[in-house]
């Protein structure tokens, strides 16, 4: 018996849904071996992670707290990836958005009526994120500079710039040496609704739904799809490729910027160390695992946040490294990339001794 890959006659919708789910299961199994190496029971560990993330309302609100920036950055990355523009700079766009938000919150309040402070903080923060993604987009469309490197490098610029501010110029003089700015005025706080969970969550969900409509039901989304899948044909058919890339990246960056805004205005209420826990990078996993579907992205973000929160939990309860959650996150990508093959191919069993039987043989399809 022999197994061969055979091209499908059409893209399998079943595979599109099943591959991410199976990838997650495979990653659980693979990480299970790692846990065994740590002499931990994988089942108990996963159970503990699950309870830690979803076991009670207060645990769940913590998961939602972490899901919010993951949703926003994940959606931002989704837009860019739809264009095959490899924006891996969501981290930097988030940080730069947070820095701009802090700037407005800390220094503009004397000049603005209180009610307008928060909207202004959000607006400027989003614009900053947009600028941070717009630079690589401009470099790409004008000079054909590779976006992967530029977005990656700009992460470090933003992160170090922020560090320079909260360690230096903006450091709270009464902060006992703690690396962070002064507390923002309350008018710049994004309201919380339960525990630390805040309205940023609803904004993110709203944007996710809106984005689904925009990507699937508007001319803009149609053009995005065309450009991502065949730039040359899009141009031939009259689509302005360069302008579309620029606009999409401004939106992409704005969403990541908004993630930074909500982190500083709802969670820490100041710009401080630990603004991001790698949300901008996890966003890449969110985008891939959701197959660039914004609504799926919302759920995947919650799952990824659960892994983060659950990872903290197993550290406390079982003495395992908290990084276990991150290991699981990373581990999902490999089966995912391998599995995406099955959307276009299936495995066919062939018996070389009897080629006629092979024709009628059952196909193993995912």
């Amino acid at each position: 018996m022999q197994l061969v890959f055979e091209k499908r006659k059409a893209v399998s919708r079943r595979a599109i849904v099943l591959v991410p789910i199976l990838s997650f299961i495979v990653s659980l199994i693979l990480t299970g071996f790692l846990l065994l190496a740590f002499k931990a029971n994988p089942f108990r560990t996963y159970m503990a992670m699950f309870i830690g993330a979803f076991g009670s309302w207060s645990n769940f609100t913590e998961t939602l707290v972490k899901a919010t920036p993951l949703m926003l950055t994940g959606l931002g990355v989704t837009i860019a990836f739809k264009l095959r523009f490899w924006n891996i700079g969501a981290e930097g766009q988030l940080v730069f958005g947070g820095v701009a938000a802090a700037w407005v919150a800390l220094f503009w309040s004397p000049f603005l009526p209180a009610w307008s402070l928060l909207p202004m903080v959000m607006l400027v923060g989003m614009m900053a994120g947009a600028v941070w993604a717009g630079i690589p987009a401009l470099l790409k469309t004008r000079l054909n500079v590779d976006e992967t490197l530029v977005t990656l490098m700009m992460n470090y610029i933003a992160i170090l710039f922020a560090e320079g501010l909260y360690y230096g110029a903006w450091r709270d003089p009464e902060g006992y040496g703690f690396p962070g700015t002064k507390l923002f005025p309350e008018a710049a706080w994004l309201p919380r609704f339960s525990g630390r969970a805040h309205v940023g969550l609803f904004i993110a969900i709203g944007i996710g739904l809106l984005l689904w409509v925009a990507m699937n039901r508007t001319k803009w989304g149609f053009e995005l799809n065309m450009i991502g899948k065949n730039k040359k044909a899009a141009r031939c058919l009259g689509v302005n490729v360069k302008r579309n890339i620029l606009v999409a990246l401004l939106i992409s960056g704005a969403l990541s910027g908004l993630a930074g805004v909500s982190e500083v205005t709802a969670i820490s209420h100041r710009l401080q160390q630990g603004l991001t826990m790698g949300y901008g990078y996890t966003a890449i996993i969110v985008a891939w695992l959701s197959q660039l579907n914004p609504i799926a992205g919302l759920f995947v973000a919650i799952l990824m946040a659960g892994l983060l929160v659950g990872g903290d939990q197993v550290q406390m309860m079982m003495g395992l490294p908290a990084a276990m959650g991150l290991v699981l996150q990373g581990m999902i990508l490999f089966p995912m990339l391998a599995g995406s093959l099955f959307t276009e191919y299936r495995i066919k069993r062939i018996d070389p001794r009897n080629s006629r039987a092979a024709e009628s043989n059952e196909e193993l399809s995912v």
């Binding site: 059409a10 039901r217 899948k229 065949n230 044909a233």
Partner: protein, 521 residues
Amino acid sequence: METEKKPILEMRGITKRFPGVVANDHVDLELFPGEVLALLGENGAGKSSLMNVLAGLYRPDEGAIFIRGEKVQIDSPRDARNLGIGMVHQNFMVVDTMTVAENIILGLTEVSMIPDMGKISDRIREISSHYNLKVDPSAYIWQLGVGEQQRVEILKQIYRGAEILILDEPTAVLTPQESEELNNILRQMTSEGKAAIFITHKMEEVIAFSDWVRVLQHGKLVTVKRTSETNPQELARLMVGREVLFRIDKAPAEPKDVILEVENVDANDEKGMPALKGFSLQVRQGEIVGIAGVAGNGQRELTEVITGLHPVLNGSIKINGKDMTNRSPLAIIRSGVSHIPSDRIAMGVVGDMSVANNLVMKGYRRKPITHGGLLDPRRILDFARRMIDSFKIATPTPDTHVKFLSGGNIQKTILAREIDSCGGVLVAAYPSRGLDVGATEAVRNEMVRQRDKGSGVLLVSEDLDELLSVADRIVVMFEGQSMGELSSADAEVEMLGLMMSGVSKKKAEKEYYGSDHATGV
């Protein structure tokens, strides 16, 4: 044929199949030392795949290769090199950021870990002065022009001991002077008993460069000729083939107002070489104007300057009387131009989107597909079903991704979209290339129908039968210029062939009809 000399290379019954096509169908080839063989054929005739078999890049499905009478198996480019076969590809295989000398020794196993660049450079200088190939071994590739890069490639093959040099369309990128130089190099090489094969689809190069010519058509060898015993017009006819597939029923054209006007347009190709030189053309409503010419003589640039995909340097393009020179592709689409692009997979469709979506790739901008600011999936589907029906597109469902369709149905999808959205001008580049008889007929009939509905159609084709049966007038292009215009009713293939090889209409008429023939066009 030659009796006293033994061939240095023989290929017997070479067959190479790819999924769905036979690239080479039992092709034989002989090459004698001291001679240059031209391999002539249209795009897709199987010239390159035959040479890739020889260079060890493809493995033949059938057939045998003999070098100096000995049967050999060539499994890799390294095997080819060890047998003295060197190939200069159309896209040069050089590393920009390395020097000439470094490129020449790149990949050679005989070179020690730390090569003695001084000795290598001396050897390169020795070869280059012997063949009069002016190249500085220490220059970086990026500093060199295209012609110089080609010299590096040739030098590389000689350095590596090539006795049989294969050149894939070597003159496509060269200026006439550089071509002349290349010819001298080849002559020098053959005078020392080396042999060369060069791939081309330009008749005049066959005449200038080669001793023998072999013509391929649809993967089959159709003729072997001594170059001295043939002429461009015979080669043109052999290359294109004479059998007429079918006739298109059409009434005489009734041309009305000029709808497309190209005036003295200059444009460069992607490499920056002049591709259109003062080209002018008029297409009227209700007529089909054919563009004949061997591929690479500016046809692609012509269709792309009209559709706004390629910049015009000088001159103007008017559509419906309005100046549309260098306007955006969208503005030109809006002015009524439809385009069936030459590369249908790369430019005409988005393979990873559905047939339905591909069909609305022009209509999505307006009603009824866009309704209240949103795309209406039901209307998209309705529209798609109608198009699939009336253009007889064979697809399992409207949701099937286009890339799963056959070439003919992909073309029908493009045709349906472009004809439905056509506002008076249809630019069709090689619309029936690679299609089966049925799809070809559908495409040709559709163009005639568009003409009869009053559109102006510009048809670029390499298929002279297509031009003669579909077009009303034929303009012959050569090196970016118009060689003149013939009415298809009384155009002769031989005349077209002559003009395609760069002979102006006047001269061609003199040659073809004798000196006193009055033109009827």
